[in-house]
């Protein structure tokens, strides 16, 4: 799904006649209801490619390694907010082939610690204006996210988190079992082990079409002059007097004044190229999609106690997942025991899914940090900037991550929203450990 979709959109559909060329020129690159109508009349053969396929230049002002959501968003905001357009995004495969095209598309800002709350809420606000901002339909759908609770203790913990959210200006509601039943009648409320007592609802949470996020940012960055270079792997970083000055790639050497890394699961590999050791490990997380069915579920439900969460895509597939497989992995695939565990969790809380067939499943490589929180920061290496450690929750962060990383690269200092996302926080004893599980990346 991931690769085909990316290729399809990037593929050129050459105009077959002068008339189409004319229509193309008249339409320029702006998407609108009118452009769809006009293209419809021409058999949809006049669409031009959404971003160029440039040959890498020998040098750029800024190079971003990794064409996932975060790398593309960074390039977009560098160009749009900071006027820095001599930028290349260097992607080893196709953009959208990494985690940005592999996640379960949930967005939310229901965190408790201030370092996270304000950052993720900034992201939520950017999501709310994103489609108008980059003129692309990302299908942002604020259908609500409900975290289920099953005991008084869990309710109290959720009330505490909800209150912290509200104090920070984020929407949160503690709802009782009747209200959960009204919203999601098909859950097993009387489950013997985990009876549903209620939930913490974030009404503004929801889902976003993940591939469209990569494409929208790519198109917006490209139209402002950013070069998006696909099928180009960074294999080394050249240092001069302690400063990162160029990248070695499968398409040659490219120098830059500043080099930013946004490679998610491969963060350790890139960091090692400049001699940095990081407090993180790569782990695999799986996701599952069922065959398409009629509307069944119009919100996102998380059953944390049973390691399961679920939503329904606009195509009708039930999209669900659970926890990490739990061992270091770069494989982009998981194993059957975790699959069985996720299915068992689903059967426990939403028994009706037992009648639905599984259509597809896959895995993605997560950059799991020792406290479950990310890095968006300068590093001890001059000219090298780090964005990573997104664990399994970096999709929702995409807009704010790109926005803050661009700010950090442009201004040589963090924005207030990413001030605490440093590498040094571990040595300084200022971990941001929402779960409170300590330095065990596989359970963060």
């Amino acid at each position: 799904m991931v690769y085909q979709a990316a290729r399809y959109t990037a593929a050129e559909h050459p105009a077959s006649s002068l008339a189409f060329t004319f229509i193309q020129a008249a339409l320029s690159m702006r998407y609108s209801a009118l452009s769809i109508l006009k293209q419809g009349l021409g058999g949809h053969r006049g669409w031009t490619r959404a971003w160029r396929d440039p040959t890498p230049k020998p040098a750029y002002d800024v190079i971003i390694i990794g064409g996932g959501g975060h790398g593309l968003a960074t390039a977009y905001y560098l160009a749009k907010v900071h006027g820095i357009t001599d930028v290349a995004v260097i992607e080893k495969g196709w953009i959208g082939g990494g985690n940005v095209g592999r996640n379960t598309t949930i967005i939310r800002s229901n965190y408790m610690f201030p370092s996270n709350t304000y950052f993720y809420e900034h992201s939520m606000k950017l999501w709310e204006g994103l489609e108008q901002d980059f003129n692309f339909n990302a299908m942002v759908s604020q259908r609500g996210v409900i975290n289920l609770y099953h005991s008084d203790a869990q309710r109290d913990a959720f009330a505490r988190r909800g209150n912290a959210m509200r104090l920070a200006g984020v929407d949160a509601e503690l709802i009782d079992a009747d209200e959960v039943r009204r919203r999601v009648p098909l859950l097993d409320f009387d489950n013997a082990r985990f009876p549903i007592e209620g939930g913490l609802l974030q009404p503004r949470g929801g889902t976003v079409r993940h591939d469209a996020v990569a494409w929208g940012y790519a198109r917006g960055a490209d139209s402002r002059g950013v070069d998006i270079i696909q099928n180009c792997e960074v294999t080394g970083i050249e240092m001069k007097n302690g400063r990162a000055v160029a990248v070695q790639t499968t398409r040659g050497r490219i120098s830059a004044n500043k080099i930013g890394s946004a490679v998610a699961g491969h963060t350790s590999k890139i960091a090692q190229m400049v001699g940095l050791e990081l407090p993180l490990e790569s782990h695999v997380l799986q996701a599952f999609v069922s065959e398409g069915i009629k509307p069944h579920l119009d919100t996102v439900v998380t059953f944390g106690a049973g390691h399961f969460y679920i939503s329904q895509s606009d195509k009708g597939g039930l999209v669900y997942g659970g926890d990490l497989d739990g061992y270091n992995s770069y494989a982009q695939r998981g194993n059957l025991p975790m699959m069985e565990h996720v299915m068992a969790g689903g059967m426990a809380i939403m028994p009706s899914i037992g009648r639905v067939r599984l259509l597809r499943h896959w895995g993605g490589v997560m950059d799991m940090t020792m406290d479950g929180s990310p890095f968006i920061c300068r590093t001890p290496v001059d000219g090298f900037y780090l964005n990573g450690g997104w664990c399994y929750g970096g999709f929702k962060a995409t807009p704010a991550s790109g926005w803050c990383f661009a700010h950090t690269i442009a201004n040589e200092e963090p924005h207030e929203y990413n001030r605490d996302f440093t590498i040094e926080r571990f040595a300084e004893g200022r971990m941001i450990d929402e779960k409170g599980v300590g330095p065990n990346p596989w359970i963060q």
């Binding site: 491969h266 350790s268 590999k269 050791e277 990081l278 407090p279 993180l280 490990e281 790569s282 739990g326 061992y327 270091n328 992995s329 770069y330 494989a331 194993n335 059957l336 025991p337 020792m370 571990f426 040595a427 330095p439 065990n440 990346p441 596989w442």
Partner: protein, 106 residues
């Protein structure tokens, strides 16, 4: 087509780890709990902060062979040392905590 021909061909190793516990024999991954990098060494009690910081937080995180701990929780409850490839999920060697295991060239 007969029923046999319709059975999907799969290699057990490709769908879950098989770990040779030195005490119990070959067991499925589901019986174990992962316990992380087995190459980190606790520094001496009087080591400086930097030493403890490295021990607690920094990891090589290799793409390839990784020496790691798997706790046989649903078996003998011993810690098993395992050399496993993080890209292919292949297990090359297992042993007791005291064993020095050969790590293949990558």
């Amino acid at each position: 087509m007969n029923a046999c021909a319709m059975r999907p061909a799969f290699n057990r190793d490709k769908i879950m780890h098989q770990i040779q516990c030195p005490w119990c024999g070959v067991r499925d991954e589901a019986e174990f709990q992962y316990k992380g990098d087995a190459t980190v060494v606790r520094p001496a009690d009087d080591a400086d902060e930097a030493g403890f910081f490295r021990y607690v937080y920094l990891r090589d995180n290799p793409k390839g062979w990784h020496t790691e701990w798997w706790h046989h929780v649903a078996g003998c409850r011993q810690f098993v040392k395992v050399v496993r490839n993080t890209l292919t999920h292949e297990v090359a060697a297992t042993g007791t905590p005291a064993d020095t295991l050969q790590v293949p060239e990558s």
